[in-house]
Point group: C2
Chain length 431, copies 2
Amino acid sequence: MSRDRRLVVTNALLDGKTVSLTALDGKITAIGPEAAVDVNAGEMLDAGGGILCAPLVNGHTHAAMTLFRGHGDDLPLIRWLKEAIWPVEQRLEAEDVYWGTRLACLEMIRSGTIGFWDMYWLPAATARAVEDAGLRAVIGPPLFDPPGADLAERNRELESHLDELAGFGDRIGAAVAPHAIYTVGTASLEYAAGLAEDRGLPIHIHLSETREEVLDCVKTHGMRPAAYLDSLGMLTPQTNLAHGVWLEPEEMELISERGATVTTNPVANMKLAVGGVFPYPDAARAGVPMALGTDGAGSNNSLDLLSDLKTFALLQRHAASDAEAIPVAEAWATATGQRSGLIGRLGRSVTADSEPLTIGAPADFIVLDPAAPELALGNLSSALVYTAAGSVVKDTVVDGRILMKDREVEGSAEVLARVREQSSRLDPGGD
Amino acid sequence: MSRDRRLVVTNALLDGKTVSLTALDGKITAIGPEAAVDVNAGEMLDAGGGILCAPLVNGHTHAAMTLFRGHGDDLPLIRWLKEAIWPVEQRLEAEDVYWGTRLACLEMIRSGTIGFWDMYWLPAATARAVEDAGLRAVIGPPLFDPPGADLAERNRELESHLDELAGFGDRIGAAVAPHAIYTVGTASLEYAAGLAEDRGLPIHIHLSETREEVLDCVKTHGMRPAAYLDSLGMLTPQTNLAHGVWLEPEEMELISERGATVTTNPVANMKLAVGGVFPYPDAARAGVPMALGTDGAGSNNSLDLLSDLKTFALLQRHAASDAEAIPVAEAWATATGQRSGLIGRLGRSVTADSEPLTIGAPADFIVLDPAAPELALGNLSSALVYTAAGSVVKDTVVDGRILMKDREVEGSAEVLARVREQSSRLDPGGD
């Protein structure tokens, strides 16, 4: 690691006051009026009067699936998988995953997301891409029980993927990621729970995405999905449950007691037409830690979490027929990872009381465009939830490094060119 | 009008080929390979390899309500109106409406919308703003029956507003705009129908937005809203019905027979939590002309129709629990005004067979940013419906005039400064 990386941000707005900010080696060292901050040394970022803002964290995605964006958009789930996704996924190579993830990172940087929870094949390629792009990620090599597979061999492969991920820098974390309770058997789930505990890793799993999954679970295991996971020791403060569309109030109580997080993915749920809505009022009442995710670009198809934040709030208001269903402040905190000790930390070794934009916190933040018409009037949080999309983000800083400055991200043209090449190799007939 | 306004667009992509385009006095005169087009005279727009694309038309909004964006976002409809909107609206002056509308126009230009159907107070101020911004609009001075008002005087006022609107240029049209069947009595609706017929103007009205409106209509008039309007002669090919959330299949049949258009506003419906979803499958089955609207920024809060297009498609898939509920091509055509002879024409005197981007058609189009990561892979229509937001628009051209070039809109800084001034005058305590 290079030492003494200094960053100086000037001419930024925070709580209505003009401030400067300095960071050393990825941690914020000072924030205050220009006169009180040593602005003489370091890489300079002139915020141009833009607002300093907490960044967004994407709680669930499959980054490399940008490669499959727009494939079979009008197809229902099973035909989409069988006709559009699986045949192409079988030809995936590390370079595909690398450039698909670079495209995802580019879009996240451009929309103010500084890190994400990922689950996808060839995880070392994902990690390389995240490291090169400058973002943070918790990467979960997916665990499946394919029919007839040698599970011992599969476990060895998974462990070797986790070993590889451990060799990356501080911005990359690993997770144990059993795909779902309908694709992974009880023995493998128990193995996954043990592996996560042994290695001190989080668990990342899809849960209660479709009604069929719940009905099958009750039929096979005699209990609903949350209780089933709990019986296997998989519900802990280190567990990230993606979707949770069909969770019932008693399941919310159990998840809250165990301290696990539910990451809702409203856009993907609507796009794949799962038919239900994450029961936010029940989750909030039970005090469940929560986060917001885009899911993969194959089923969203965007990675702009600010757009999804609006859809999240709208869908909750719509589902409850109640304009008071989710206050602006709660929606905003969900998207920034501040409602889950697990998700927002993204594997960083920072204390839980390290709020964004405070001294000692990671130098991860965004600057909003002072010329964005969407932010010209009214309350800022409300504008971020209901008016803005990712394009209001002017600068993105992660770990004290400037990843976007005045909407320019270094290397974007190469990313677009390379991902187009990989995509035509993968799917020569695709449009 | 100035004569001989020539525009030359070079280096644009259309159907995968590099083309140039020329326009004279607001009409397209040539499109074709560079060599075949006289590119020697006129204002130049280098499209930089960006795709030439049909522009968007916003079928229903209240443009000046950008002034009330973020006021009382967490309030239910009635408290929102009584506490956040009406008290401030009573202080509205022409300069407020002018600058609020200029802000709306700026946001529409930046997101590829070239015209809109408006309904708001002080319509001449709206018209001035639209004319100065360079967009197109059909502007409806709202008609209400306030308790105790002198209706003859109110009618004289309305007619004088319509006279004023007739004095603007070709880009401004007028509409007769009775607010809704629950705020305008039968006599006034009949007057409005007659006025529209006498003056050859379209009708723009809110219909079937809430369930209460429908129940009250049945109770009071013994029929559902569409039949009631029809009984007053208000359902014609010149009628724009905003919302239509609670329309039943028989009403769709009737509307289709009469040739009226329904403009759906999915984001506003979700935000105000009306509880229902525009029954797109019924409307499509009946062949109802359709359009897409944002509604006002007070209840959306964005004016980015590309974002709303995604929400429109997602909400239909969700409501039907069917990923095939609305094909990409149908969604896209709704947002460009191509599914309604009335909406897309925006009062322009062009023949119905004048498709966008053909010779003789109005020189109204957008150029998409070739560097937008959201458009890098996959099918273009799908990317526009499900991936892109308005920021993928690089250039916007209306009536042969360049309103945005490389995302720069002339005069934006003044618009932001002036709208902030007007807003603090209107609502000194607002945040």
